[in-house]
Symmetry: C2
Subunit: 206 residues, 2 copies
């Protein structure tokens, strides 16, 4: 899965990065991000404050880095999957497998979404990261379906739907207390809803 042959340099860089992110997360959970300074994070992570700036362009980024999942693999899998399958269906399959195989990683991401409640300054940065994903995905969908992104709304709409499906699923999963094995179903429900065109019409009891 991951490169085992990494120089010491690269290895230490990752350690540093991880320990900064972990420190930022820990302190944020303890006292709220707005009461945490770079200096404190630096002490906790055994680096200088200046080093934090080298890795992250804000405290917020550092905190969120602790919950960022590696989406590259999923995106590549998407791009290399057979293009006869409609994009949303392909993404649904990929995402629900991911939910089954890596619930741990997704739980971390979901906690980040949850952290936003108590730490509002996280939201803008997380959303900016989310939109990067939407943009990347839009491009891949455009390529896959031979659509011009700048003229036809299809790729962007599908990409947004897919990303909302994931975020919405993570949010409800978190709200339900991360019940084992429920995430894949939430993901499928969300994607299916989008694929089917939001069919429900009028009020009904739960």
């Amino acid at each position: 899965m991951e490169d085992v042959r990494l120089g010491l340099r690269e290895l230490k860089k990752r350690q540093t990065r991880d320990s900064i992110a972990a420190a930022a997360l820990k302190l944020t959970e303890e006292k709220g991000l707005s009461d945490v300074t770079l200096e404190e994070i630096a002490r906790e992570a055994f680096v200088s404050p200046r080093t934090i700036s080298n890795y992250f362009s804000s405290k917020e980024e550092a905190v969120l880095a602790a919950g960022t999942i590696a989406t590259e693999q999923v995106l590549e899998d998407f791009s290399s999957s057979p293009s006869e399958v409609p994009p949303l269906e392909a993404l649904c399959v990929l995402m629900s497998s991911y939910a089954r195989e890596h619930p741990d990683r997704l739980r971390k991401s979901a906690r980040m979404v949850a952290l936003e409640e108590s730490n509002p300054s996280l939201r803008p940065i997380r959303l900016a990261q989310e939109v990067e994903l939407v943009i990347d995905l839009s491009g891949r969908i455009a390529t896959r379906t031979g659509t011009d992104l700048t003229v036809d709304v299809y790729p962007s709409m599908v990409a947004s739907a897919a990303v909302s499906a994931m975020v919405t699923s993570l949010t409800l999963w978190y709200l339900a207390g991360f019940p084992e094995d429920r995430l894949p179903k939430l993901v499928e429900d969300s994607f299916n809803l989008a694929s089917a065109g939001y069919p429900r019409r009028t009020a009904e009891p739960a």
Copy 2:
């Protein structure tokens, strides 16, 4: 439409706010937001820097305020529209009418989206505003359809789809150079795509 009977106080407040926003926008277009300081904006708007902070919590907010459209009316119209109509359809009608009736306002908003290209720091703040809208709308959809927001993904998914439809439409409208009368069609296309469940499947020539 708007309250004509406003005290002088309220009136001046709006003027101040508007002139700060206008100054921020003008300077940003001239030299890029990162090269503009609060002090400059203050000079341009004939207020003290401290006053800017009273109105906005960042330069970015000030710039974006120049293009923010009043969504309250649309949201209320949505809530008071007959709930037999599926939410996305209702929103489609409301939004495309809005596009027809107030292209000027929407053009301003679209320019803000465009400004993001050259001024990346605007993005997080705009997205945060956008997500507020999604959250508000999710609540209204939940109410309208008698759905529990915290259990069923439907309201959030529909709300995201509606907001992406608008943002995507504005973006493509801008990319096409704001052609007269094309916005309503873009809006309808986007909403219809979502309503129909993104039916296109495989590659095809444009």
